[in-house]
């Protein structure tokens, strides 16, 4: 082409697209008078008509998309309340740990003490000390008989101390065991209540899931009926795993 008509203008004129009516009229007048543009336009048109001899084909692919479903057994697992069991386990473990952490070992008043749970609020048993009047001044001389008596008093005093200490320890251990039994019984009752609530929730969850599974099965049956003529079924996972196709064995019409 030797004139000032561009290739894009010729194409727009040939397909009558994206061209203003005034521009189209101007081009029409020019083409009628310009042999070069006229011949080019005719060649482009002829090529276009030859190309249109290639008709479309029918693909006969019968593509059908089916969403991948979870296996049935996965539907039976509790999915909405997984924390119940973990919470109950943690609570029981925490109770046991705290229970053991409350054991106290102490040495007071030259005696070995143990306590579980609450600290004992009972004051230690006061041991009566021997009457001070029985203590003889160390400055005065004493006889052999007096020495023996004082030695016997000291031995008796020591026995009383040991006996009092034993009584006190027995009393504290008894009180501690009584309190421990009471606390364990209380915890046992609370744990039974939690377990009962968890079982009730699990039962309700399973009943709901069972109904959902029945509904899904009805839906699947309807879809299989709807796609009865499909020649091929594609199963497309939601993640990036490869898709897979399943030929149904049906002949395409």
């Amino acid at each position: 082409m030797n004139c000032d008509i561009t290739r894009e203008q010729l194409i727009a004129y040939l397909y009558d697209e994206d061209i203003h009516p005034n521009e189209r009229e101007r081009l029409k007048v020019h083409i009628e008078t310009c042999s070069s543009c006229s011949q080019t336009l005719e060649e482009l048109g002829s090529t276009s008509r030859i190309l249109n001899a290639w008709n479309d084909e029918q693909p006969n692919l019968d593509l059908v998309f089916v969403q991948e479903r979870q296996p049935l057994w996965q539907n039976l697992l509790p999915t909405r309340y997984p924390k119940t069991w973990a919470t109950a386990s943690v609570a029981i473990a925490a109770i046991l740990i705290l229970t053991f952490l409350n054991i106290e070992f102490a040495i007071r008043d030259d005696a070995f003490h143990t306590s579980i749970g609450l600290r004992s609020s009972d004051p230690p048993e006061q041991i009566a000390i021997a009457d001070t009047s029985e203590v003889i001044s160390l400055d005065a001389p004493i006889t052999r008989g007096e020495f023996i008596i004082h030695q016997q008093n000291l031995i008796n005093y020591t026995h009383r101390l040991v006996h009092a200490s034993q009584n006190q320890q027995r009393a504290e251990v008894n009180n501690t065991f009584i309190r421990l039994v009471g606390e364990l019984e209380t915890q046992r009752q609370q744990d039974l209540l939690r377990i009962d609530r968890g079982l009730q929730i699990l039962y309700n969850t399973h009943a709901t899931r069972y109904d959902q599974i029945l509904t899904q099965m009805d839906s699947v049956k309807k879809e299989l009926f709807f796609y009865d003529n499909a020649a091929e079924v594609l199963i497309v996972p939601e993640d990036n795993r490869p898709y897979r196709t399943i030929p149904t064995g049906r002949k395409t019409p």
Partner: protein, 186 residues
């Protein structure tokens, strides 16, 4: 129901809406990839890949009214990816006869010969010109839609169309292909 409504239903969870889209676009997409790739085996695979990619990426389509250019973009990318994996394009498998009992045998042979000749001619074009010609002549897209699909300026599309048709004219002259030859009167 138009494409945008079907897309909305699919996004709401109705996979049957997507299958309706597939039925509607199966033929245009198949013929587009067939003319791009030049053989039926590749065309079947490319068509399937196109719809699988569309299924997986539907949520990325921002404007459902632009579904046409979007699906052709996916198809074209699938063709180009396949072309990169396989540098040669087979030109022979279009000779496989199509089962057709209503047309006389010589007409079938004639149609297959025309189809094969035109396929070979198109495969001789540069890829960018071939894509524009296929989209315009066979898929019926407007120049603006082609420009949107290929993400090139409008004048670039028209320019590629001009050079593509001119190159085909030379090929047709060399192979003695004329309008009379391809026109078959039964």
């Amino acid at each position: 129901m138009n494409d945008a409504e079907l897309i909305a239903q699919f996004r709401a969870g109705q996979i049957a809406a997507f299958n309706t889209l597939v039925k509607r676009w199966e033929c245009p997409i198949y013929n587009f990839v067939l003319r791009y790739a030049g053989n039926r085996d590749d065309a079947r695979d490319l068509c399937q890949q196109t719809f699988i990619r569309a299924y997986k990426n539907m949520r990325r389509l921002r404007d459902p009214d632009k579904f046409t250019s979007w699906i052709y973009q996916i198809a074209l990318n699938a063709c180009r990816d396949a072309g990169r994996r396989r540098s040669l394009v087979s030109l022979d498998t279009l000779d496989t006869p199509i089962a057709d009992t209503t047309t006389p045998p010589d007409a079938i042979v004639h149609e297959q010969s025309v189809r094969d000749l035109l396929n070979r001619a198109l495969q001789n074009l540069p890829e960018e010109q071939r894509v524009v010609i296929i989209m315009k002549e066979y898929q019926g897209l407007k120049f603006t839609e082609i420009a949107e699909t290929l993400k090139v300026p409008l004048n670039t599309v028209k320019s590629r169309m001009y050079y593509g048709l001119s190159a085909l004219k030379k090929i047709f002259d060399r192979w003695h292909i004329s309008e009379d030859m391809v026109r078959y009167e039964l």
